[in-house]
Amino acid sequence: MTSTETNSTVAPARKQLTIKVFGVGGCGGNVVSQIHRMGFGGVQMIVLNTDSQALAQCPLPYKFNLGLTLNGGLGAGGDPERGRAAAQEDEARLRELCTGADMVFICAGLGGGTGTGAGPVLARVAKECGALALAFVTLPFDCEGARRMRQARLGLEEFKAAADGVICLPNQKVFKLIDENTSVIETFTTTNELLAQGVRGIWQLVTRPGFINLDFADLCAVVRDRHSESSFANAEAVGPHRAKEVVEKLFANPLLDGGAALGEADALLVSLMGGPSLTMAEVNRVMDQINRQCENAHLIMGAAIEEALGDRLTVTLVASRRPSHAADLPQAADVEKAEPAPAARGGSDFDTLGSAMVAKPVARSAAASPALEKVAVAVAESDAVGAAPVVATRTWRSRKKAKAVHPELGLETVTTGPFQHSEPTRHNGVNLDVPTFVRRGMPMN
């Protein structure tokens, strides 16, 4: 499948893509309200909560109270089990809500009861209904206590098993965005805004046709199987030097650890959007800078023109790092042991083992609309062989793919000698502790 082919076949169908945004729990509701405030046409927004009081305060028209008979509308009391039970009770209703959607975004704050418990159930239901489920979740602040963090981690594992992709924002990182005087309200508004931006950015990236196109399959290739470490950032700049500035802003973003996350990322999705005045040179400049930061990453880029942007240039970036399997696997195993996995999740349970991946998209495409099938096929392709093949089939990207395949040489640890145990000195993604002559490839007699 070449990129032009994707354009011609999928583009007409794109307009009919039905996207639903769900906010689950208190935090999810706030995020969705935030998205609503930011003005975000063409999608249906639905708020789910177990707490009827919180639901009543929400300004959105579509709301649904989960587990009314179970909890009496009093919330889940911070217990994910009750959140999950409430969602399972209303599973039929959830199924109804998800029916007909091609893509479902789920926003939730992990650590509490409803978001952590009900969110993964919704993700599973959405997938069973044939929609592609993408979750945007927050992890609690460190100060919220170890228990909440533990619950959140378990919830995240469940999300990873249930949804197609999970993008995670650890709230603790938001601390770097705020200063001493920021109030609590502002802080939470900031995290909500970040998530809202994330949803919006991804939505635009997938729905807007661009001259270098990106679709959901591209997105999946980046977030799938790496999701615990997916981070997200976007930046915007105006003026004659916007290409340079936008990259600087992007790298200064604390969510990317000041650009360090890029150096460690092994898959990267970059979407550029600008007004009609966007030049190829600018696209080139931005990509050049980003490429330099992450030489080893599997990079997918897209560029689109949006009339409304005027002379602004925005860059949206999703970076994923493969989780250290040693740390993640036992945790995942714990989850499976702790509670019996829901029947329909059987296929995706193998996810962490890296096998049986083909089963997933096939099951989905059976239920999916014809328009979606194209996308699903692309996913299936990539699933069958591994991470990179979506790119491999596109001629103009094959150069980048070659980069992606090279693993980092084990040489590095040998050559940093006495600096092995200290923080590496990195500059533009290059480890300066490695002898210069080695990096420059100077032969010695």
Partner: protein
């Protein structure tokens, strides 16, 4: 013994640098004329520091004690407090801008307006775990008229100020202070090492016509750009002499200690006249051991040093400072002892380069001649400047200065 009862705390200024290669303490006194005389030096090889940051507090404390004791003996004073130099790859610097619109009826800018605009400039987005080490004012702009040093008494409403701010991770800065505090020494202030080196090396004229100071230490390389009499830019790269040694030890396959020795004896930052020359190394027993290609040795060194300079060069190039550095490049630190380094710097920067001498102080010649002591000497100079400022501003100013140094305002 007299010193015990009448510690000359007000006039004796001690600069302490806990470096990667050595700990240096320099004792200076302020003369009646306002100059600074170095009266004592204490040094000790450092073991507890890597890349400019303390990694083993116990070793570091021992080394600091040795250096301080030596300095006390050499200057015959009791040391109670020090100015402490800090560095490290975690330090970040940036230029900030503050704006304030005065509302006074007579349009005359008062001290209060200046305080307001300075406070505004200090508000910027930094990670919450970071501590502001320095905020140095550059120039004021009054109603669009730029380049004003002291706006008090001028007429105008729109007051703007440019500032240079250096900040770093609080906990990593505190490691240095903990070591010193553990020895019952008071830390008067922590100062960025690069800034001190620049103070020691540059005179007023050089600061005005623009100069770049590069301090090549063992663990880190600091650089400071002065132009128009103010600090324009600072930075740290956590690459230094240790990296050169490590490169050699890896490339020539020998122990780091031997590589360091070889670098001191045969190292240079030039490739001239070494083609096809070999060195015969002798083993510990005095027998000929193995041969090393001198050309390889020099190439490894040149590659590393050249790269370090290039990193700095591209940084100042991006910021557009090249045209402002008319006094050229001043080198100091242990790396400045490498033969031919000024030629290499000249080639990379395209500017005249010299080995800096600490001309700013008098007293012991060895202090001002030694490029490795530039930071410690600069600390003394910094301390002298601060004390002078404090005396003229009186008690209120002192409190303000203290609070300011803590980052309260």
């Amino acid at each position: 013994m007299l010193n015990l009862f009448f510690p000359k705390k007000t006039t004796v200024i001690v600069g302490l640098e806990i470096g990667t290669a050595k700990v240096a303490a320099v004792v200076g006194e302020v003369t009646d004329g306002g100059g600074v005389n170095v009266i004592g030096i204490g040094q000790c090889p450092s073991r507890g520091v890597r890349k400019g940051e303390v990694v083993n507090a116990e070793h570091a404390a021992e080394d600091v004690r040795n250096a301080i004791v030596e300095a006390e003996k050499s200057a015959d004073v009791e040391i109670a407090s020090v100015y402490l130099g800090v560095t490290g790859g975690h330090l970040t610097s940036l230029n900030t801008h503050g704006v304030f619109t005065s509302v006074s009826l007579d349009h005359e800018i008062s001290q209060q307006d200046v305080n307001e605009v300075l406070a505004n400039a200090k508000v910027f987005n930094r990670p919450s775990e970071n501590y502001v080490l320095h905020s140095v004012r550059q120039h004021f702009t009054v109603n669009g008229q730029a380049g004003i040093v002291d706006p008090i008494g001028m007429l105008g409403e729109n007051l703007e100020v440019d500032m240079h701010v250096i900040h770093g991770v609080t906990t990593r800065l505190q490691n240095h202070m903990r070591v010193v505090a553990g020895l019952n020494l008071e830390v008067e202030q922590t100062v960025f090492s690069g800034l001190c080196s620049a103070l020691a090396l540059l005179d007023n004229e050089q600061k005005h016509i623009g100069a770049l100071v590069v301090d090549i230490g063992a663990g880190t390389t600091e650089y400071v750009i002065y132009a128009e009499g103010v600090i324009k830019h600072t930075g740290v790269i956590a690459v230094g002499g240790d990296h050169v040694t490590n490169d050699l030890s890896y490339g020539l396959r020998m122990a780091p200690a031997r590589a360091a020795l070889l670098m001191r004896e045969h190292g240079a930052a030039t490739l001239d006249g070494v083609a096809d020359q070999t060195l015969t190394l002798t083993s510990e027993n005095g027998f000929p051991d193995r041969r090393v290609d001198l050309h390889d040795l020099r190439r490894i060194m040149v590659a590393r040093l050249e790269e370090t300079f290039q990193l700095i060069d591209s940084e100042i190039g991006e910021l557009g400072f090249h045209d402002q550095l008319r006094a050229g490049v001043c080198l100091c630190g242990g790396g400045a002892r490498i033969r031919g380094i000024e030629k290499l710097a000249e080639n990379v920067f395209g500017l005249p380069a010299t080995l800096g001498r600490a001309n700013a102080v008098g007293g012991l010649r060895s202090a001002s001649d030694d490029p490795e002591l530039a930071t410690a000497v600069g600390l003394v100079k910094y301390g002298a400047m601060r004390q002078k400022g404090n005396q003229s501003t009186g008690l209120v100013g002192k409190i303000k200065g203290f609070a300011g140094s803590l980052g309260l305002f």
